[in-house]
Each structure stands twice: as C-alpha cells, then as structure tokens.
Symmetry: D2
Subunit: 311 residues, 4 copies
C-alpha cells in the first residue's frame, strides 16, 4: 500500500467559530490545508466518504457531556473510516458581547443548550433576571449577537474573535477544566506510523451472554494491553446484541495489538477497526510489559517454528 498522503481539505463541524474549528486550527496550520464547515457531524463524515474532503474533525467525547453519539454512530456504521489523530481542546466559554455592552445592559443571552447547561450557575449569578435562549450552536449565537439580535452569547473565544465581539466574562463554565476530545477522521487505508505512544480505537459487537464482555477484555489483558475507554451500547436492530466502543493503548502495527484485534475478529460477531493514532492527551502509555513487545513476539515466532519443525 502506498504511504499515506497528508490530507489538505478538512471538513469540520461548523459553523465557523465553533470549538471544532478552534480544535482544527490548533491541530493543522492554515498553510497546510483548507477548512470547510459542515452543518452536522454526519455531513462532515459524509464529505470524507464522498471524497469531497480528505479528513473531518469532529467531537468524540466531552469530559462533561460524555460521548457524542453522532460521531460514535457515524464511525460505527457506513463506509469504513479511521481516526488518524486526536485533538484535545479546553472548553473555555466566554460571555461575548458587542463592544460597549456592559453587564448591566444584558437583557438576553443565547447559546447552544449544552453550553447553557454548563454555564447555568454562573449565568444565574451574573444575569439573574435573564432566561437564556437556546440556538443551534455557540457560533450561531455569537453571530446573532453580532447582528444585534441578542445582547450576549455563551461561546468559544474563537467565535467572539471571529464575529467581532468582546469577552465580557471569561472562564464562564460552572465546572472549570472541561475538555473536548476531537478526532480527525480519514478514509480507511494507510495509517499513521507508530510513534511509541499511540492509541487504537475499535467497536466490537458481541452476542449477549454472561461473560461476553469479560471475554473481550481478556483478549487485551492476556497481551498486556490497557484500555483507556469503554462504553457499551445496545445495537439498534438486534435484540440481545451489544456493541462495545473501546480505546486501548498501542498501535495496530504492534504485534500485541494486532494479535488482540485478530482474536476479537475471530470471537466477536463483528469488529470494526477505527484507527491507530498518536496519543495526544499529554500522558504516556503504560510501559509495555516484558514479553509483550514486538521483540518478544518475534523471538516467540522463531521458537514456535523450531518446535514445529518448520524453522
């Protein structure tokens, strides 16, 4: 397979000024490609599948809101795509107004419902008499404030900047430290090279019987592989069949990870590989146990060939 060509046309969950755009800017210099906003995660993924975009940056999970079903389902179903990169972005909300607006002037506040939920306490303190109104995105809210339709928007700093607003209050979240994990998604094919500190994502569908999940986890444990995320979801159309969405440490190019995935492929109803990519949360994978690294696998191959008499 030819080496991977870096993507140059990037779809993202728009409109302009969303956290997704901020994440994309942090990940890809503007000189490296063009960015196209899409109205939904599904639309951004469809653009990759159709070839209209080389890659899509979409949110996968948020430390406050949990996983993003549209992304989970969008990756699990349809033409195979793979994650080639993960990007973490601090979710820093600001209360954005037109220049000159003071807190006492704010009679209306708009934002996406999730953003309003994460700032409800602060808003009740700051503007107790205002009932916040939901709009379809934080960026749309910023645009509406810029247009003079409302007085203030809860949005990302990037949205305030893009729409000519100023941050009246920063760090507006009730629970500071929220982080959203975005993933860059590309067509299945050549993968990023291992970096030594990678993650692998997959979805495993298992028949529902006592211990089925335990059997899945054992395939990782016997090969010394740690999981960093797991989530069960009932499959939509099959009674008693569950799917598990998993992130594990390591790259599919590693022997231990490859053997574990092949084992799941053998024993599960279905396994979908969702990519191996550099870990970007600032942490290091656990050290690979002795006996689980590629050298140990290679040495064991030689030993096995010798005892089989096929060396």
């Amino acid at each position: 397979m030819p080496p991977r060509t870096p993507p140059t046309r990037f779809a993202y969950l728009g409109p302009e000024g969303t956290f997704a755009e901020a994440a994309l800017r942090s990940a890809v210099a503007s000189s490296e490609g063009a960015r196209y906003p899409h109205p939904s995660v599904a639309a951004a993924l469809a653009a990759v599948r159709s070839g209209d975009a080389d890659a899509a940056l979409v949110p996968l999970e948020n430390s406050v809101e949990g996983s993003v079903p549209a992304t989970m389902d969008g990756l699990a179903d349809g033409e195979p795509l793979v994650v080639t990169r993960e990007v973490f972005l601090d979710v820093a909300f600001v209360l954005a107004v037109r220049p000159g607006t003071a807190l006492g002037d704010v009679r209306s506040v708009v934002s996406h419902p999730h953003a309003l939920a994460q700032t409800a306490g602060r808003l009740a303190d700051l503007v107790p008499d205002v009932v916040p109104l939901p709009l379809s995105s934080t960026a749309v809210a910023a645009a509406a404030v810029a247009a003079g339709e409302y007085d203030a928007a809860v949005c990302a700093p990037i949205a305030a900047e893009r729409y000519g607003l100023v941050p009246l209050v920063e760090d507006l979240a009730d629970t500071p430290g929220a982080v959203t994990r975005f993933v860059l998604v590309e067509p299945a094919g050549a993968l990023p090279a291992p970096t030594g500190n990678d993650k692998t994502s997959l979805v495993a569908v298992v028949e529902d019987r006592t211990g089925a999940l335990l059997d899945v986890l054992r395939e990782f444990a016997v090969r010394g592989i740690s999981l960093s995320r797991i989530e069960s979801r009932p499959t939509r159309d099959r009674l008693w069949v569950y799917s598990f969405s998993l992130d594990c440490e390591g790259h599919v190019a590693e022997r231990r990870v490859g053997e574990a995935l092949a084992a799941l492929h053998r024993v599960c109803e279905d396994v979908r590989f969702l990519g191996s990519y550099a870990r970007a949360d600032g942490r290091e994978n656990r050290p690979v146990q002795p006996g689980a690294d590629d050298a140990a696998f290679t040495e064991a191959d030689a030993w096995l060939a010798a005892i089989r008499g096929t060396a």
Copy 2:
C-alpha cells in the same frame, strides 16, 4: 428499617408536556400522586434531596442519543439517591400544529435541538424551505406554537394534546424505534422488594492500571451475574482514575449480587450503589446458574460453618 413508603410527590424534568411527563404518566396513575415539573435534571434531583419531592423521574439514556450525563453525574455525586424503578418510553415525535394549519402553511418549525437532530431528514422532505429553530424543550416548542409564535413544533404526542395542538405528521423520527429509559429516583433507604427479574445499578471508581476493569468484571462473572450496560468515564478531578457506570442483572438482596457489590467495595477506590429495581424493558434476566442462587449460598454457608467448626 421500616418498609418503604410509596412516594406521592413526583418531580420530573419539565416543563409539562415533555417525554418525562409522558413517562411518569405511564408509570404512576394520577390518583397516586402529584407531579411537579422542574427546569433541569439537577433541579429535579435536588428536590428529592431537599425533601421537597418524594421521587424524581429523569431520563437516563436514549437509544439514539446515548446516556444523559446530567443524570449520570447527578446520581454519582451528592447525597446518595437510588433508582427504584425504570420506565421505557417510545420516543414518538409528531409535527404538531394549531388546528387548521396545513403542511403547506408551515413557515417555521421549532423544537429541542436533539429532537430536531432526530427528525432532520423527515423535516427536510416535508418542509424543505424551513430552517428549524431550537428551543429549550419540545414542550416549550409546543407551547410557543399554541401561542401563535411559530407554525409547527416537533414534540411528544402528550405535548400536542396538552397545548391543544393536532399532530399533522406522526412517527416523525428518521430512525424509528428510539426509546428513552427513564428512572424514578428516591432517597437512599428501603429498597423495592425483589421481583425475580431485577436490575442493579452502580458506579465503581478504580485506580487506572492494566486489568483494573477486568478485575471489576470478574467479580460479577465468578458469581454468575450478567451485565447489561457499562460505560467508563474519566473522573473529573483525579488523573488516571476511571469510574465505571454499570447495570447488572439481579437485586442487591440476592446473595450473589450482595457478595459481588461487597467485593467491589473492598477492591475499588469507591463504589456507589444506585439501586435495585424491577426490570422493565420487557426482557427476562438470564436464568440464575446452579450454584449462584440464594439456596446455594445458604447451603454453602452451612458447609463452611461445619468445616470451620463453628456450626
């Protein structure tokens, strides 16, 4: 402990006309108690914690949107509460209008963003020229249509009925068959009696090491207990510590479940019990394995006492 007193004052995620109210109506006859809408899941749970309500009905997970973080977190943190009942409700959206409005008259459509997301395809077919507008809930949308502010609302049948609207289109969801799982939450204390077909919910917090989740699952597996849901979440404030939200088959009053929970309490950083309650999804738990039922535990106790010489 005195027997459980049935709750009579019910908080729910409002406003009136939400799916939560519909779920509550399906679960509790109006003669059995009074119902109070609350503006958020947190508010509904707070009403139970403060004693202003006996119980709260809140959404836990949706087959399309996934789990509801506000409920997950509201149960995992704060004063202990327990689930005493689960209620499943088909998410049937209607396009509700004032009597006399025809499809050709619809120039504006409003709803909660999640409802708009789940009906986007149908709406694009039905009213291709309309850009739907988000409001804070499907019930608020219905009220706004009733007030003449907009032409149509995507809402629950109960909301159309309550606000004097008529369903212009039924079964509006792009993916039919969506179901929301609500839970009735009460203060920790006396539990519902076992019915023979129960579920138990809990949150386990584990130190992050290879195999930690496997160890948690083994405690269930060795005692013949099936899991029906699992979800990992990074804890908000502790690096490398994960929490797992689990549903398992069985009631904590059963020996096998009690011993498994006690084992988790011993080996996990923290375990929060979230209730044992009748299974209500129309399925039967797997048969309890020989050796895992209460009679087997009682018999084993007697055997152990005999060999210990303490019989």
Copy 3:
C-alpha cells in the same frame, strides 16, 4: 464446638526407623504422646478414623518422587480427616552397616526401591559390583542388616541409630537437598487456630469442560489468594470428571479463604476441605492485599447492610 484437644496417640507410617518416625520425632516431643507404627498409610489413616489413634503422620509429597498417591487418596476418600500440621524433613540417606564393616566388605545392599533409585549413582560408584536388593522399607532394610542378613542398608540416620548400625557413608543421595513433606492428620472437627502464616488444603471435583479449572482458580484469584500446589487427577470412576488437589495460602477462618471455599462448594461437583494449618516450610505467605483482609470484609459487610437497608 469445644476447643481442640491436643492429640496424644500418634500413628505413623512404620516400621520404626522410617523417615516418618523421624519427622514425627521432630514435630512432637516424646513426652507429649505415644507413637505407633503402622504398616501402610492406609492403616495409619484407618487408625485415626477408628479412634485407635488421635493423629497420624504420613508423607504427602517428596521433592524428588512427587506426591504420595496413598496419602492423597486416603485423604480424599472415606470419613473426613483434616491436616493440622505439616512437617518438612530433609531426606538424608546414609549407607548403614554393622560396626566394623568396611566399604570393601560390602557384598549386598538393601533398601526401599525409592531410596535405591535416589542413590543409584552413588552406589554404583561406591560398590560397583553389588546389585542392590529392594525391601519393603528403609527401616526394614536396616533391621535386616542388623540381623546379619545383608551387609549394608540405605536408610535414614534414625534407622541406623535405632538398629545399632553405623553410617559408613552420609549424604548418599545423588541429588542432595531432597525434602519430604509429611502431614499430621486428625479427625475433622476443631481446627488449629490461625497463626498468620497458614496454608489450606482441599480437593475440588469439577465437571470436565473447557475452562473448568480456570473457574476454580478465579475463585482464589478474585479474593487475592495464592496457590502453592495444584495437581489434577482423573477421578477413578467417573468419565470426564477431574479432581484437583490444591494448597492455598491462608486459613479457612479468614474471610477471604472461607468465601473462596464456599464459592467452590457452590460451583464444583464436590469440594473436600483437608485442613488449615501453620505453614512450616520456612517461608512467609505473600502479604494479604489491601481489600482482602478480614477488616476489609467486615467493613464491606457493614456497607452492604447499609445499602440493603438491613443495617
């Protein structure tokens, strides 16, 4: 149950002068009881079962010859007995002769076949022209030499001493360092008190299916209990049913061990408890893991009672 009465009448695998007698002498001062030799392990155990003896000292395993089936089977079948003590004895063979016999005078050598096997190399060097003859025990061999029937016996130092012989050659074993593990066996009933460094022995009979043994071992592993010996044996009379003879760390009076044994009792075809007794091999058990000690179990009981509402 009344406290355990120390045994005073000891059966052992005779005749006088065997390693079993030496082990019994090392374990029980002569002032503490009377010792009775028996012709076989079965006879010694039968004396305990019939009440003719309070306890029997019999060999369980040897570091060179492996386990002793007569003892294994004698404990696994028949009226229940328990091990109350283990005794390790270095197997030091001497070449015993009548006073005055020189190596060059030795024309015949006798011993038990196992002893001859373990000294075959040395004998071939020392007395290359002699074909050793088997007798029914090392002690019988010593007695026969004392009686003038043969020139030399391979036996225990105690046998040489008892029969008036002198050790012509000491440390006769080809592989030095052999150790035999003897066990003191008493009727089932009150057990030795825990010492903090105990072992527990048992036999578990399991239906033969893939993973059956794994399931047995998991009951120990989930409770943090290490095994120190395991041996599978096909059951004599039931096709496809295996029994496992196990030693684990800990005392049945400990919660973790008691719960593990009760679990095996629930899930196995049969479990026979063979006693808890002080570890005597000079090693310390692994430290009990946090969460596996009795305090953790007691605390978990209280927690469980609270969440069950039965506190």
Copy 4:
C-alpha cells in the same frame, strides 16, 4: 525439515515382561522394530539422547499411583525430547505360579512394591498367612518364581507367559480398572502429523506470584483450548519458582495451539515443548469452538493485514 523417519530401535523400561514391554508390544508390531530393555527410565531416555535407540517407551502416569517422577523429570531436563505417541495399558495383575502349583501351596509371594500395594487386599484374602516380599520389578519377580526361588509372583500376564508361569488368579487388583499411560519418546524434530484428535504436552516454569498459574491457563482459555492434565511441581533449585506440567487438547501445528505456546514462551520464565501426538485414550477432543479453528485464524490474518494496510 525432512519428514519424520519412523523409529525402528525401541528402548523400554525393562526387564523383559514388564508392563512397559506389554505396552510397547501393543503399540508396535514386532516386525516394525527391535526392542531393548533398560534398567531405568533414565537409562531408556539416555539411550534415545545418545542415539543408541530411536525411541523409548516409558510410563508417564498411572491411574492409581499418579505421575511417574522419573519420566516427568527425565523429559523436563536434559536434551529436548518429544512425545510422539501415547499408549494406554490396562494394569491387569495375575498371581503367577509354576504349572502345578495350587493356591494352598503358596508360601511366598513376590513383586514390585507398587504391585503389592495395589493387590494387598486380595492377597490378604487369598494367602492370609503369607507376608509378600518386594523385588525390583514385577518381571524380576516372575523370573524368580520361574527359577523356583519363590512360589508366586504378582505380575503382568506378559511376564507369566514369558517366564513359563501360569496365572493362578487373574484380575488381582484391589481396585480394578487401573490404567497406565505410557509415552513413546523421540528426539526433538519432525513431529507426527495432526490427526484431528491430538494432545500437546509441555512444561511451563513461572515466577511465583499470585495469579501466575491463572495467567498461564488464560492463554489456553482465550484460545478455546481445554487442558486434560495439570500438575505443579516446585523447581528443585530455585526458590519460589514453580513448574507446571500440562497436557492440552490440540496439535502444535494448529494455529490456536501454536499461538498459545508462543504466548507462554513470551510470558513464562521457561517453556519446554514435550510433543504433539494422537490422543489414544479412546476419547474425542472437545469440538473446536467457532473462531478457534485454523480457518478462523487465517481469515483473521487477512482482516488484520487489510486494516493494517499491509494486505
């Protein structure tokens, strides 16, 4: 590697007339090779290692006496050998006398101590006044009776036949149905071809820590491989290091077995392969689970290559 050459020179545990010779006769027609008795298991194995014999037939375990340490240790240490065949022989003892001897004439009985132990009850009934005498083998005993030195021998039917004796009493064992499992041992190298109903033997040496054996067994369980025998032995020279002698179902040429052995090689201190050979106990291996057969492994390889982009 060149195909396996059938052995033609067979060593066995002698002398002539032992059960080992009987087993060898049942396994190999006399036209297929020459048979050479050896005085000990060690000597028979040494003959194979030195090239003096092509193969050795030695006893591995007995349903009454348990495993044979000399064989276990002889295979585990020294130059690698492999089992190429297993042979089961019913242990049918006869009371053999010279023609013309009646039961009332028997004043002395001789045999190997193990044989005397297994027939002690019947002998006590048949010849209550006789104290049996041990000799070094059942065959030696038969020869001694033939020579007129004693009146009766407890031996194999083959020994009676070979030494011109007649069976005065047949089926002499106290517990009928005893079976000895012999193994044919050859130099490591080309293996017998898989038959579809094979066993594989090995010795795994593991560091002694809680759960070490569980980890070993998991490598078989995750690949759907059943064990048919397991035995732990302390290693002779290393404190806290155990070795496990195992038989599992399947042939090392099968993917599942090969991968399990390679995994053990990676995670254990040491693994010694002791051969794959046709199962001969009259039983069939458990059916290979879906997902564990070679076709499933091959298919998973192709899948893995595709997701790795190396197909």
